[in-house]
């Protein structure tokens, strides 16, 4: 299919349909309402389901109910709405149902603002809800990548029977960029008869299925948690995705940055190169699982003096960078939030002053 110019939110809606997701439940919230406004028109064309729920809490359980009976489902929201979904997200992971959540982040905390932000990193990656669980979290840096990640998300969430979140900032949702849509996925969800509560007749079985999360016996519940942990460990082994940039140079500093913020960093790195200063970047495409090893190895490179986490939040991701660098190099944070997007110039200055000070320390 040819190239089209499309707004991120609408492209995400279209990508879902092409991934065979014909069921969408959501509650409006800026800056992602266009996802629903697009799908309310598209779904009837494909005999799909569109429903505006009465609240994010309700929507999150509509998703659970629909996913639990085997449907391919998606919702989209933004930060406060995701907070309200956190109980259900915990339930859905424990009930091992596949589902896709889109979070087009706005600025917090509280009502905050609606401009681009990455302040929901911890909520998405560490678990906003209660209990030991993880979402698989993808962070697109362009509309094209958002489309590809949405289309990957469904089969992956079904493979692991775990919800997947696409974590984008407001720019991803509001920006128009050229998009080429991959071919449709085969629309039949992978066989779910082994667990989905889709009615015994549907699966021509007289064994009933159960989707539940209550396990009163501690031995069973511990085993269940170990089973979930095994899935997360497998994701860490198999699903890590990241993009290295300028990593074969003899870089003096390593930037770790994701989403649209990483595009600003890329520009900064290009400009620094012209100024004769080599800087590299690891751009996590999956925030969970996080590219621990890639970052640690990149940080270990001889030439690299310092690691800088650059994010539109107050160092949430940088904490993970610190963890995986294991003290091999000093780890620093640079960022802004509240809708202020650091410019390439600001990132360049942050890197330079950092290198100066670290040079000072050496003297």
């Amino acid at each position: 299919m040819s190239k089209v110019l499309m707004k991120g939110n609408e492209a995400i809606g279209e990508a879902a349909i092409r991934a065979g997701c014909l069921n969408y439940f959501a509650y409006p919230i800026t800056p992602q309402s266009e996802v629903g406004e697009y799908l309310v028109r598209r779904m009837p064309e494909v005999n799909g389901v569109f429903l505006q729920g009465e609240s994010e809490v309700a929507v999150s359980y509509m998703i659970f109910g629909a996913a639990a009976c085997g449907a391919r489902v998606m919702t989209s929201s933004s930060s406060p709405g995701i907070s309200l979904m956190s109980e259900a997200i915990s339930y859905i992971t424990s009930g091992e149902c596949p589902a896709v959540f889109i979070n087009i982040m706005r600025c917090g905390p509280g009502l905050g603002g609606i401009l681009p932000s990455q302040a929901d990193y911890s909520q998405s990656v560490k678990g906003g809800g209660h209990g030991d669980y993880h979402l698989m979290v993808y962070a697109p840096a362009s509309v094209q990548e958002a489309v590809e990640m949405v289309m990957m998300a469904f089969p992956l969430s079904e493979k692991y029977r775990n919800p997947v979140m696409i974590l984008g900032d407001g720019l991803i949702g509001q920006m128009m960029e050229p998009v080429v849509f991959p071919d449709h996925l085969k629309t039949e969800p992978s066989n779910k008869d082994s667990w989905a509560t889709n009615g015994m007749d549907t699966r021509k079985s007289n064994v009933r299925n159960l989707v539940k999360t209550l396990l009163l016996d501690p031995v069973q519940l511990n085993a269940h948690n170990l089973k979930l942990k095994a899935k997360y460990d497998l994701m860490k082994k198999e699903e890590v995705r990241f993009e290295p940039y300028n990593t074969d140079s003899d870089y003096k500093a390593l930037i770790v940055s994701y989403g649209t913020m990483s595009r600003v960093c890329r520009t900064a790195i290009d400009d620094l190169k012209e100024q004769g200063l080599e800087v590299a970047m690891i751009r996590p495409q999956t925030l969970f699982p996080f590219p621990d090893t890639a970052i640690r190895e990149a940080a270990s490179k001889e030439s690299c003096q310092v690691v800088l986490g650059v994010e539109m939040s107050m160092g949430q991701m940088t904490e993970d960078v610190e963890r995986c660098v294991r003290g091999k190099k000093p780890v620093e944070w640079y960022g802004k939030c509240g809708g202020e997007v650091p410019t390439p110039e600001e990132v360049m200055n942050a890197v330079k002053s950092l290198l100066q000070s670290s040079r000072k320390e050496q003297n």
Binding site: A58, Y61, G65, A66, C69, T213
Partner: protein
């Protein structure tokens, strides 16, 4: 001319965990009998509450989902929207449905979702040890109204069936009881009617059932059924409150 009586097929043989004399068990059996009679066991999905009936999935022989506290109507909506051919019911207590789940039940009913709700009104939070529910009677003592429900402080009990009947969307809404055989027989008919409306994709259907909680009422079984009959029934009158046939989906009563 005796009659026979057997455990319905839709009911599992597992003994329930309810306290002696708790009528949750009666309601379970009635649902199972109706599902057998309608022959829909193979395409039914039940949705359990968080409450004493949290283990309800153990007592039936068809697909079941377990909801979070109060959210069963949202889950049922999710199922019916993607699989209208499935027969779906939610089973919810009065804390679950009328307190934390008020928003979900009102909107599901108002959208006219084509599922059935069995609403177990026992005027108390059973599972968590007897706290006050929205349905707790004036002056009734509970662990969070130790001196009796003070209506000047926390308001009157909520008549959920009448509240839902005030919505404009057509629905079948009825109140029944399972505290004595004569009520049980009627209750079963009402539950069957509710499922029939769903099978016909006619409307949302809601059956409130007055039930007992001897344990948290601090009464014997017999005291419980009598208290329910003498105190609850006058405040929560039995019978059909709204049906989709009634003019402009308005209420029958009044």
């Amino acid at each position: 001319m005796g009659k026979t009586f057997l455990k319905p097929e839709a009911l599992s043989s597992q003994p329930n965990h309810y306290c002696p004399g708790c009528t949750h068990g009666v309601i379970h059996r009635l649902i199972a009998e109706v599902i057998d009679e309608l022959g829909i066991r193979g395409r039914t999905v039940g949705i359990g509450p968080v409450g004493c009936a949290v283990l309800i999935y153990n007592y039936f022989t068809f697909d079941f989902q377990e909801a979070a506290h109060g959210r069963a109507p949202a889950m049922a909506t999710g199922i019916k929207r993607v699989r209208p051919d499935l027969m779906v019911f939610t089973y919810q207590g009065d804390g679950d449905l009328a307190s934390i789940g008020m928003g979900e039940i009102i909107h599901a009913a108002n959208r006219g979702e084509k599922f059935t709700t069995i609403f177990v009104n026992n005027a108390v939070y059973g599972m968590t040890g007897g706290q006050m529910a929205p349905t707790t009677m004036p002056n009734q003592r509970t662990t969070t109204s130790p001196y009796g429900r003070d209506v000047l402080d926390v308001g009157m009990p909520i008549k959920v069936a009448e509240l839902l009947a005030a919505l404009q969307t057509p629905a079948f809404i009825t109140r029944q009881a399972v505290i004595k055989p004569k009520y049980i027989v009627k209750a079963k008919k009402a539950i069957k009617k509710a499922f029939e409306y769903q099978m016909a994709a006619k409307c949302y259907s809601f059956v409130e059932v007055i039930s007992t909680c001897p344990t948290n009422w601090g009464m014997t079984t017999m005291e419980s059924v009598n208290w329910a009959e003498e105190v609850l029934l006058p405040f929560y009158p039995l019978g059909d409150i709204k049906s989709p046939e009634s003019v402009d989906g308005g209420t029958d009563a009044k």
